[in-house]
């Protein structure tokens, strides 16, 4: 007789998160918070007898383990976790712990800190569906869950998705005509190649990366003066993506370009990463003391989040409560950056308190003492002792640096070393997230114990290994993902998959996404035919409504005069830290204060009001109507045929033709009875009443089209 043994409890996936959530606040890595000298995140401590003789975990014996009895007791004084923590475990969770202890209480390294090894792709049943190894991993999980992939997307859906995903722009009508058969692999790959080698791809992916590195064109805080150097870094990003710079080089140059390539202007732009964060400048006698600390904090937090995907910011004030980082690790990282400092030159005449002149920053070698103090509670006035420049001790090749010279270069090579378990995993996860809307790990900036568990750990590792072995070739990774059957599915919808996997983690279908703010604005401009594809250069300052500027203290807001400049892609619009452009604000732009791991997608009435009532949307509606008018010689039937590909990348249906025709005709009749405002027209000269009524009706029609979900969402 065979007895089916239950699968062994997985420490990393099942036990560690539970301990982290319920126990580690008082029994974790943070020495100062630790109660009863008990540490549950390390086996040695947890299985060691306390002074009292009690043992928290007796491997193999839940009934002897004090951990279990303290969880189960009814005695309020003994009960764990204490009632005031509101962290009670469910009966099922206690049973899980018991099972794990019974199985010997095996501990394991946290998955993301363990060595990166390429797993063998799994075998699957439906091999016909598979286009490349990515699909094997996805299909295996689907099959295990009794689910099937969604049939492949049709040509227009796939093209629109891929176009927005690569360049952030909708496909052109020409592309739509050229790619009409979704199984035309050669045609698809050709389009893909064209997109991935375009500057527009560089622009869209630079914008993704700008979120991660808290990009801004101004200092923020009280004075919020402009930075005149940030855009050089932004342009470096665009060029790097557009020419498919290897990702290891991409990372190294941002951390230490100036040291690795002395005298190289391009590399000097890359390292401006360290200068595009918030810059705290305030009046008063305490200011100089703190500013350097703010900068070191900003660069340590940003680089650890961006490249390592870890939340080391917590260790600024205390040893991490859940992850194995210590204050020595955190200030060790600051001490790496302290060999340099930003040199700020203010541009133009002026000075004194409240100086709002723009500044230009570069990274220079620090002269004088570069010691960084470990600070109690992160406070400058509470130094504990000097920090040694060092890399996180628990990671391979971590610990104090051998040399105090060129410390950032050492950090850069360590980050991109094949032995670093985090960097490649974090990078491929971001790429995955930027295509599918959520990462394989949904907490892109937290690969720690409290972060998300990967939905497909083997796929994540396989992709990371593939990235490294391909010479950190992002283009190769993009093609793998974008040409996979997984990506080329139809969009996720109803049915069994919606029931079993409502959050689309298993990827039975492509998860629908709302355009992000920049894509939405750019798509409106492209549809109306006014998008200016000029690339690079200093930021464009759009005019902003007075109410939006009302709360801004430093009102040095001088809109760009050249009208054509105002129609450039959103990535070129100025990013002022103390005020978000209203359109980007309402559509969930990043906060620019710290690394943004992913955009929110809220649904609020303010978005509807913006799209329905703002002058900017009305102008786009007017321009779109005018474009359709001239391309259809004023014939609604012809205009309707043209509108659908422009806005939705697909042909219009019969039903939609009827609705649009009826709507336009009804509105035209209404406008004939009550004449529209003179401005509700695109004619340079005053149109006759009949034409004016038609124009007004077409503008309302285009406004409605821009307000449809189909325009805002990508299937």
């Amino acid at each position: 007789m065979t007895v089916a043994l239950p699968a062994a409890v997985d420490y990393d996936r099942e036990i560690a998160p539970l301990l982290s959530e319920h126990c580690l606040n008082c029994h974790g890595p943070d020495e100062k918070q630790r109660k009863g000298k008990l540490r549950l995140d390390q086996r040695e401590s947890a299985t060691h007898a306390a002074k009292s003789g009690e043992i928290a975990i007796v491997p193999g014996h839940p009934e002897k383990s004090v951990l279990v009895s303290r969880l189960l007791t009814q005695d309020a004084d003994e009960k764990m976790p204490p009632a005031k923590e509101h962290k009670d475990l469910t009966a099922a969770q206690v049973r899980l712990l018991e099972t794990w202890i019974k199985e010997g209480a095996p501990y394991a390294d946290h998955w993301s800190f363990s060595k990166l090894q390429r797993p063998a792709p799994p075998t699957v049943q439906d091999t016909h569906w598979v286009r490349n190894p990515v699909d094997l991993f996805i299909l295996q999980k689907l099959e295990q869950n009794g689910l099937k992939p969604v049939p492949a997307a049709n040509a227009s859906t796939l093209l629109r998705r891929m176009s927005f995903g690569t360049t952030g722009l909708p496909p052109t009508p020409e592309e739509i005509t050229a790619f009409s058969n979704p199984s035309d692999d050669a045609g698809y790959r050709q389009l893909l190649d064209a997109k991935l080698s375009s500057t527009q791809y560089g622009e869209h992916w630079a914008r993704h990366w700008m979120d991660v590195v808290r990009y801004g064109d101004s200092a923020g805080y009280e004075l919020d003066y402009l930075f005149t150097h940030s855009w050089r870094y932004r342009d470096w990003l665009i060029r790097s993506f557009a020419k498919n710079k290897p990702m290891d080089q991409f990372i190294r140059e941002q951390v230490a370009g100036d040291q690795l390539h002395p005298g190289d202007a391009e590399a000097a732009d890359a390292v401006l990463l360290l200068t595009v964060g918030p810059w705290r400048f305030e009046g008063g006698i305490q200011r100089s003391k703190n500013r350097d600390n703010y900068w070191l904090t900003d660069v340590a937090d940003t680089t650890s989040a961006a490249f390592l995907g870890v939340t080391m910011a917590c260790t600024r004030c205390h040893d991490h409560k859940f992850d194995p980082w210590t204050q020595a690790d955190y200030y060790g990282l600051q001490a790496i950056f302290s060999e340099s400092n930003p040199k700020e030159e203010r541009v133009g005449k002026g000075g004194g308190p409240g100086d709002a002149r723009p500044s230009f920053m570069t990274i220079v070698a620090r002269t004088g003492d570069d010691t960084v103090q470990i600070l109690r509670r992160g406070e400058v006035d509470l130094p504990i002792g000097p920090a040694k420049p060092s890399l996180p001790a628990i990671l391979p090749e971590g610990g104090p640096l051998a040399s105090r010279q060129a410390r950032r270069s050492t950090l850069a090579s360590w980050l991109t070393s094949p032995r670093n378990p985090l960097t490649a995993r974090v990078m491929v996860n971001r790429v995955w997230q930027w295509h599918f809307g959520q990462g394989l790990v949904r907490t892109a900036n937290d690969f720690g114990v409290r972060g998300d568990t990967p939905s497909h750990p083997e796929l994540l590792d396989w992709l990371a290994a593939e990235l490294v072995e391909s010479g950190w070739n992002l283009g190769h990774l993009q093609r793998l993902i974008l040409d996979s059957a997984t990506y080329r599915q139809g969009s996720a919808g109803a049915g069994l998959a919606a029931e079993r996997d409502p959050t689309h983690r298993l990827l039975a279908g492509f998860p629908r996404q709302r355009l992000q703010a920049e894509q939405l604005r750019d798509a409106m401009l492209q549809a109306s035919g006014t998008l200016n594809l000029k690339s690079f250069g200093s930021p464009v300052v759009p005019p902003v409504e007075p109410w939006a500027l009302a709360a801004l203290r430093n009102k040095n807001w001088s809109p760009t005069k050249d009208a054509a400049e105002l129609n450039r892609r959103s990535v070129y619009l100025v990013v002022r830290r103390s005020i978000k452009l209203p359109f980007f604000d309402v559509f969930n732009g990043p906060d620019t204060i710290s690394s943004c791991s992913g955009r929110d997608t809220t649904v609020v009435p303010a978005q509807a009001l913006t799209m329905l009532n703002s002058q900017d949307t009305l102008i786009q509606a007017k321009l779109l109507a005018s474009r359709l008018w001239s391309e259809s010689k004023g014939q609604p039937s012809a205009a309707i045929l043209k509108a659908w590909p422009l806005l939705f990348a697909r042909p219009v249906t019969r039903e939609e033709i009827n609705e649009a025709t009826t709507f336009i005709a009804a509105r035209e009749q209404a406008w004939l009875k009550s004449a529209p405002a003179a401005a509700l027209s695109w004619s340079p000269v005053k149109a006759d009443p009949a034409t004016h009524a038609r124009e007004a009706a077409w503008i309302e029609w285009c406004l409605a089209l821009l307000n449809t979900n189909e325009f805002l969402y990508v299937d």
């Binding site: 919808g493 203290r553 009001l609 329905l612 609705e659």
Partner: protein, 471 residues
């Protein structure tokens, strides 16, 4: 993991990002059902982040009107008279105060400066108040004055962040955002969290922002006039247009698009357009004080008083959090020079509005469950700056509350003999925030949001409810 109640608050993707573990069964929003957009069985992906939500325990307050005094009112010139300070006027402060960190001055080099205000005990309660607040003196018995507020952030920008978001650095969520996250929006035609200010704030608009919370929870600024909320009215060029027809046409397409996709986010977006449409009529009415009687408008007065009157109208309509910022930029309570006249001027600007608000709320039976809060980001030094100014001091300052279940007629806590530091029953901003959340039925330790691996709270890891100030 079983049911995760807070998931009903979040957009699908926010929820994914912030909550690990399994899915619970969730109700779809009342808004969706109300508008009849529900065409499929509810799925576990919650979509309306503003759906009303029950508090942790029964609430005492339904709304808060937070009157924020930008720049820092001087405690020793308003609610915390110090005879000893007046006596020691012109002397150097005792050595025990020499280590205080201040922004612009060094205590050792300054002189103690008595207050030029006169004070009296008011009402039955005998609450002490200066004579530059003559109207407020008449409602003293409604007030709960705390004289022992304290924190340690002595610059405006970080201190305003501190007062509004519980942290001195940018990036955290404001009180109003936390309340909206915790309780949702109980009305369907106005925002839950409204902000009024007449001047720019030193830290900028982020202080009423959502920080790491979803953007749906941020404050909505309203101003007097025709456009109280951005884009609330169709642009003038569309005059005579038929917005309902435009919307009906777009919604027909939206419903057909949604029908084949079974995605509740699409349904939520359809519903949000209907809410937006309703707001266009509800919001202008809510802020139109022209609809008030002459007597009421006279009671409140102009300027700040008008903002207080709008706040009362919003409370009547179910808005939960109203934040009014008095002063801003460098036109505020920040009296580094000529402290006496500067503080007196500000008191005159707010005296009538504050008093009218309390009287009017009381008379309409609204004060019981409306919490009125008056505070700056910190107080001022008992010592001089320059000849006759006062520097910032966060170490011991005064504020007051009224209504919303607070103890009326109470003076709580005390500073030392000169008014430098809170010495008796100190109340930190975290304690105040914990107390305010408590009045809304929210446990500040349980109202959390996971962000970058940590469960954040309005009160960070601090804060205790100040039970003594509650009725």
């Amino acid at each position: 993991m079983s049911t995760e109640p807070r998931s009903s608050l979040l957009g699908r993707r926010d929820w994914l990002r912030h909550v690990g573990g399994g899915l619970g069964s969730l109700a779809l929003t009342s808004l969706l059902s109300r508008d009849g957009w529900l065409h499929a069985a509810p799925t576990p992906a919650a979509v309306n982040p503003l759906a009303p939500r029950a508090p942790h325990f029964p609430a005492k307050a339904k709304a808060v009107i937070y009157l924020f005094m930008h720049g820092g009112p001087s405690q020793v010139d308003t609610f915390d008279p110090k005879p000893a300070l007046n006596k020691a006027d012109g002397q150097v402060a005792p050595e025990s105060f020499h280590q205080l960190k201040l922004q612009f001055t060094d205590v050792r080099k300054q002189k103690l400066m008595g207050s030029a205000q006169t004070f009296r005990r008011c009402g039955q309660s005998g609450i002490e108040m200066c004579d530059s607040l003559p109207k407020l003196q008449t409602v003293a018995d409604e007030l709960c004055v705390i004289r022992s507020m304290q924190h340690d952030v002595f610059n405006h920008t970080p201190a305003i962040w501190m007062a509004n978001t519980g942290a001195s650095l940018p990036g955290r969520a404001s009180l109003g955002a936390w309340l909206t996250y915790g309780l949702g929006n109980s009305v369907d035609n106005l925002p839950a969290f409204v902000v009024m200010h007449s001047k720019p704030l030193k830290p900028g608009p982020g202080v009423w922002g959502n920080g790491f919370l979803p953007a749906a929870y941020q404050g909505t600024t309203i101003s007097a006039g025709a456009t109280p909320i951005p884009y609330l009215k169709a642009p003038a060029d569309l005059k005579g247009g038929d917005q309902r027809a435009v919307l009906d046409y777009a919604q027909t397409m939206n419903r057909r698009h949604a029908a084949s996709r079974a995605d509740t986010e699409l349904d939520a977006r359809i519903a949000s357009y209907e809410l937006a449409f309703r707001m266009q009529t509800a919001a202008p009415d809510a802020v139109d004080i022209g609809r008030e009687s002459e007597a009421t408008r006279t009671l409140y007065g102009k300027g700040f008083g008008e903002q207080c009157l709008v706040a009362r109208r919003l409370v009547e309509r179910g808005v939960r959090c109203i934040q009014i910022y008095h002063g801003g930029d460098s036109d505020d309570w920040d009296t580094h020079g000529d402290n006496h006249n500067g503080q007196t001027r500000r008191m005159r600007e707010i005296d009538q509005g504050c008093t009218a608000l309390i009287q009017d709320l009381r008379q309409r039976g609204l004060l019981e469950d409306t919490l009125v809060v008056w505070s700056g980001e910190f107080g001022r030094t008992p010592t001089t700056e320059g000849k006759n100014g006062r520097d910032h001091s966060p170490y011991g300052y005064s504020m007051w509350m009224a209504g919303g279940g607070t103890k009326a007629g109470l003076t709580y806590g005390a500073t030392d003999e000169f008014g430098f530091r809170a010495v008796d029953k100190p109340v930190h901003i975290h304690d105040l925030n914990a107390t305010m959340l408590h009045q809304f039925g929210l446990d500040h330790e349980r109202l959390t949001w996971r962000h970058e691996g940590r469960d954040f709270r309005l009160t960070d890891v601090f804060g205790k409810v100040v039970k003594d100030v509650l009725a």
